[in-house]
Amino acid sequence: MSTLLSQSAAVIKMNIQSLPRRLWMSLAMVFASAVVVAILLAFLAMAKGFDATMQSAGSDDIAFFMRVGSAAELNSSASREQVNLIENAPGIMRDEQGPMVSAELYVIVDGVKKSSQTEANLPLRGLDQRGVTMRKGFTLVAGRMFEPGTDELIVGAGVLREFDGFDLGQEIRFGKYTWKVVGVFSAGGNVFESELWADAKVIQNLYNRGSSYQSVRARLEPGASLDAITAYLKSEPRLTHEVQTESAYFAEQGKSLAYMAMFGWVISCIMALGALAGALNTMYTSVSDRAMEIATLRAIGFSNFSAFIGTMAEAMALAVLGSLLGSLVAYIFFDGLNASTLGGSFTQVVFSFKLTPELFANGITLALIIGFVSGFFPAWRAARVPVILAFQAGR
């Protein structure tokens, strides 16, 4: 058995050392598997980044109320009366100022994207200090909070990054009204950073919303049950709302780019078939290139198993090398890449591509499959190279 190992080790070493002879074919295989892995990772990183931006925005201990059937915050509505009723729902935490409830407005304004210099939808959220404190991870990174009752607003770090004209101290015009940027906030990288925040009352006023709001957030008491709240909503005829945890809402929104991951898998798997064809060509060439050497080793007494393993190892090595290269390229070009796209509420969501170890593992697995399949059949042929070949004419 130990000789089988030392035989195989010697054959593997020789195969690797003979690679420069087949440089171009070998590089083609490395290149092909690298691209397959890089493409897969690009798509997965995109879906992951978007999902993470959404997921991290929601809290489990915040109840989120929207009008039935509205699907996204933009479409929802809630009158002052309805907000008051929601405040009386069971399980909502209270402090010295009363129930911890934030009624919010969500309107769309145009911003100019830095990348394309075209206008794109940005959400302008109206809320009060209570709503601000409900966001975990909220910090002002520059400037100060907006003054209630004034036309001041604060901008999310993501907006500042992707859009023109939102620098601290600048004035911006949306339609007829001019706003002043007095602060920049971070929310730990989540979707709230793609928003502009201003005082809810001012927005009600400027956008003719009367005293109405759109969505309502409420902090839950520990152990509060959503079922009880749902029952309360059903029993109150003046309420047309449904409730879910804020994290459930954002988890659903995060799925809207999940099709990207799927599309990525489909494209990469089709690509992988193409790469596989190239890799098989490479490995068959390798076997015919080494036929004389394989035959000579077999004549000396090396087993056909060692010829098989040698070829297999060469294929795996090339594929793994490709996957490492592909991962590196994906890491350099895609990890942290800033992007923005339309989210569930018809507004821009700014997010970064995100590569995780788990995604890299996916890429390397795909490359290993390519390596295995492209090695197996040529290795089979290598194991069956007739020994007689060693006695036939020279190279």
Binding site: T3, R21, E293, F305
Partner: protein, 232 residues
């Protein structure tokens, strides 16, 4: 069966099928090779000498008949058993040397030892001995591409004898070399035969190479013939 015979071929036949045709190389071939012999096999192309060489080397198997080596049947061994048998008993010397181009001389010579359980220091010792025997101790670190044809063939000889097989099989060992170098190689084979008692079978085209052997057999159309008959 004489214990002095290393190889015995009894009633060996070898046929190939090519498409619908069956080509017969040998029918009822009998042959024996004594221990310590240095036999040259000559014959025109198509006479069956390469096939014979393949059968003796355990690289090919007869269609029918028996081949025994040191009293043991080898014609019915499995592929992997044959590989082991070759590793233990036979050293090959090829016309085109068949060195691994990516390995230096010492590593090439070491290859058959990888099939044994020797430790790496023991292997090194044996490689050094074999290289010394062929007079290439100073070339141990050279790559095949840096050596002349004669030197490459000497490395090949070192590789053939390093695991101390009883039997050496040479296929046109001087076919690719000039006269003077060829003679040096042949003298080396002679030395291995006389001093180290190796049994050698050498297939060759070249009558002056055959002269170095202790005796020569002629093969024509799958049968052993007298030299005179071949000339006729």
């Amino acid at each position: 069966m004489s214990s002095e015979n290393l190889f015995e071929l009894n009633n060996v036949a070898k046929r190939f099928t090519k498409g619908k045709e069956t080509i017969s190389i040998f029918e009822g071939l009998n042959m024996h090779i004594k221990k310590g012999d240095f036999m040259a096999i000559m014959g025109p192309s198509g006479s069956g000498k390469t096939t014979l060489l393949n059968l003796l080397g355990g690289v090919d198997q007869p269609t029918s008949g028996e081949i025994t080596f040191a009293g043991q049947r080898i014609d019915n061994l499995s592929e992997s058993k044959l590989a082991k048998w070759r590793a233990n008993n036979i050293g090959f010397i090829f016309q085109f040397y068949n060195l691994m181009p990516m390995l230096n001389a010492a590593k090439n010579v070491e290859l058959p030892l990888l099939l044994t359980n020797l430790s790496s220091s023991e292997r090194k010792k044996q490689v050094a001995t074999a290289l010394q025997l062929v007079g290439l101790s100073d070339r141990a670190k050279h790559m095949p591409s840096e050596m002349s044809g004669g030197q490459q063939q000497r490395v090949a000889i070192a590789r053939a004898v390093v695991s101390d097989p009883t039997f050496l099989l040479c296929d046109e060992p001087t076919g690719d070399l000039d006269r003077q170098t060829a003679d040096e190689i042949l003298e080396m084979l002679q030395l291995l035969n006389r001093q180290f008692g190796k049994t050698i079978v050498m297939v060759t085209h070249d009558p002056s190479a055959a002269k170095f052997a202790s005796h020569t057999v002629h093969l024509n159309k799958g049968k052993f013939v007298k030299a005179e008959e071949l000339m006729a």
